[in-house]
Symmetry: C2
Subunit: 315 residues, 2 copies
């Protein structure tokens, strides 16, 4: 990769932005979970190793969900020990107590639960009401904390919901507070269908602060379904958010499929943060090479615009 060394873009900090952002890389879990192709375990391990080598320090590795629900990640028990010695944080998703025990037995030190801000999605995804789902997670979080693990609480449908439309911010604040009260160390606000715009992001963040949830525990998880992810990220950074979720190569968001979920591509995020002079520790050239390698394994092009632009220059 020569292009990232060309000195583009010019690094020009904007006022009021953080000096450093931690990227929570979700490609190996959220990305591969939504890919049709089932990826061999060794390829997943190599993907995680290369992401770590590119400078990502938080890489969500897999999910200890029942293989029946997510066959793409049925190899969690084999995969996790193959990468757990890497000098990076490797959170894993745990859907319930059974999943948590599997993760803890492999010495996972960071776990994540996956809640919903809306009744419709809680019903569709978990077959429970929002409160029933929270009740299900409470012993999981308590047991994880007792086991010394760091717990992230994902909250999906924080902005819009395909069945319910726009999601009231108070509803999101209530569930965030519940997740915090049960012990979640960090929250990830998901725009699962990608409809959010920057004003909505700022209003939700302000409402969370007013509701007692400090910005320091909040991560943002934007989808690029409508092309809004980076503008929303900029607004969140201006509010003080320093944890941003992204997926290498935009994995999980194939633009050619109807089921496009549109994860923000880590490359597009790094391009912006680099231009803003915000430190991420990521080597863009290595990251691009890793995503190109993974795209080759999946046999399809990446939806990341930065990846495509830099790849074209290589040809």
């Amino acid at each position: 990769m020569s292009t990232p060394e060309l000195g583009l873009p010019m690094a020009v900090p904007a006022p009021g932005l953080p000096a450093r952002v931690r990227i929570h890389e979700v490609g190996p879990r959220d990305g591969l979970q939504n890919e049709k192709a089932t990826v061999p375990t060794e390829v997943k391990a190599e993907f995680i190793r290369r992401l770590a080598d590119a400078g990502l320090t938080t890489i969500e590795a897999t999910s200890f969900v029942h293989p029946k629900w997510v066959p793409q990640l049925a190899d969690a028990e084999e995969l996790f020990p193959m990468v757990s010695g890497l000098p990076v944080d490797l959170p894993v998703l745990v859907p319930n107590e059974r999943g948590l025990e599997r993760a803890l037995s492999l010495s996972a030190t960071r776990v994540a639960v996956f809640a919903s801000a809306t009744e419709s999605f809680a019903k569709a995804n978990l077959n429970r009401t929002v409160d029933e789902a929270l009740a299900m997670f409470e012993p999981v979080v308590r047991r994880a904390k007792d086991g010394g693990a760091h717990v992230r609480g994902y909250l999906s449908m924080c902005f819009g919901d395909p069945w319910e439309g726009p999601v009231p911010v108070d509803q999101v604040v209530r569930v965030c507070r519940a997740l915090r009260d049960m012990g979640c160390d960090e929250l990830s606000l998901g725009d699962t269908i990608g409809v959010a715009t920057p004003g909505h992001v700022l209003r939700l963040l302000a409402a969370l602060n007013e509701g007692g949830v400090p910005t320091g525990v909040i991560g943002v998880h934007f989808h690029d379904t409508y092309g809004q992810a980076l503008a929303n990220t900029l607004a969140a950074l201006q509010h003080g958010v320093t944890t941003v979720d992204a997926s290498a190569g935009g994995l999980g968001g194939c633009p050619y499929a109807k089921s496009a979920t549109g994860n923000l591509a880590t490359e597009d995020l790094v391009w912006m943060l680099r231009g803003l002079g915000i430190d991420t520790g990521v080597d863009l050239g290595r990251l691009v090479a890793t995503s190109e390698w993974m795209a080759g394994r999946l046999g399809r092009p990446s939806p990341s615009r930065t990846l495509r632009a830099l790849s074209h220059k290589e040809q």
Copy 2:
């Protein structure tokens, strides 16, 4: 189109943004000029009519450049009279005095000249130095103003240049001042290769203000080559910019071609502005239908994420 009426996204204004933005639609000129396919004149006219019907009020119609250089727009003389009765502004590009006379003879009331901020691109695009190009435009602008026309000055390579790398803001300010001094009513700052990030945008806008160029005469023209166009637009809006260039369906920026220029898609822009409660006058459903129709004429999918997302819902 049913989706735009679903009420998504929630319209939530962000503090400090303008109440109204004028979209300068460049699809019929900048878009079609960069498409491989040559589009029949009647299709171009219908495209412009549908864009006007969708609520766009400034539609750059064509270019009076020599047909040898841009064969895609060789039908300017036939096309312009077919649409000039529409109740919208229809600027046309004029490369030199000859082109201006052709445009004025058809009663064009808004014209645009196309300058470069860098020597390399001035040489490549105009075979002149920056100052030689400015000298060439001076009589064009004077004659246009004498003829009562509104003049827009495009300035390309305002942020990065493929040969020169990052472009110093002072260099851009100097050329902008020259264009203003010769009488340009409006300037359009082009990120021709799409490398800009929000801090760089803010620094250039501040430098322009300090250099005597007020924000009110500045439009921004971002390319989505690296996915940065909407984040850059948000920064420009925060600075007070109210004129934003975009191309319906992202025309001219085919993501599947190496020559991707990556024009910001008007649909993606309208989605963000709509969510921010900023008035554009554009009916998103009609715009999406227009771009889908045009994509059908061109025989290829649109790179607009919003267009794809809404189209998927229709299937």
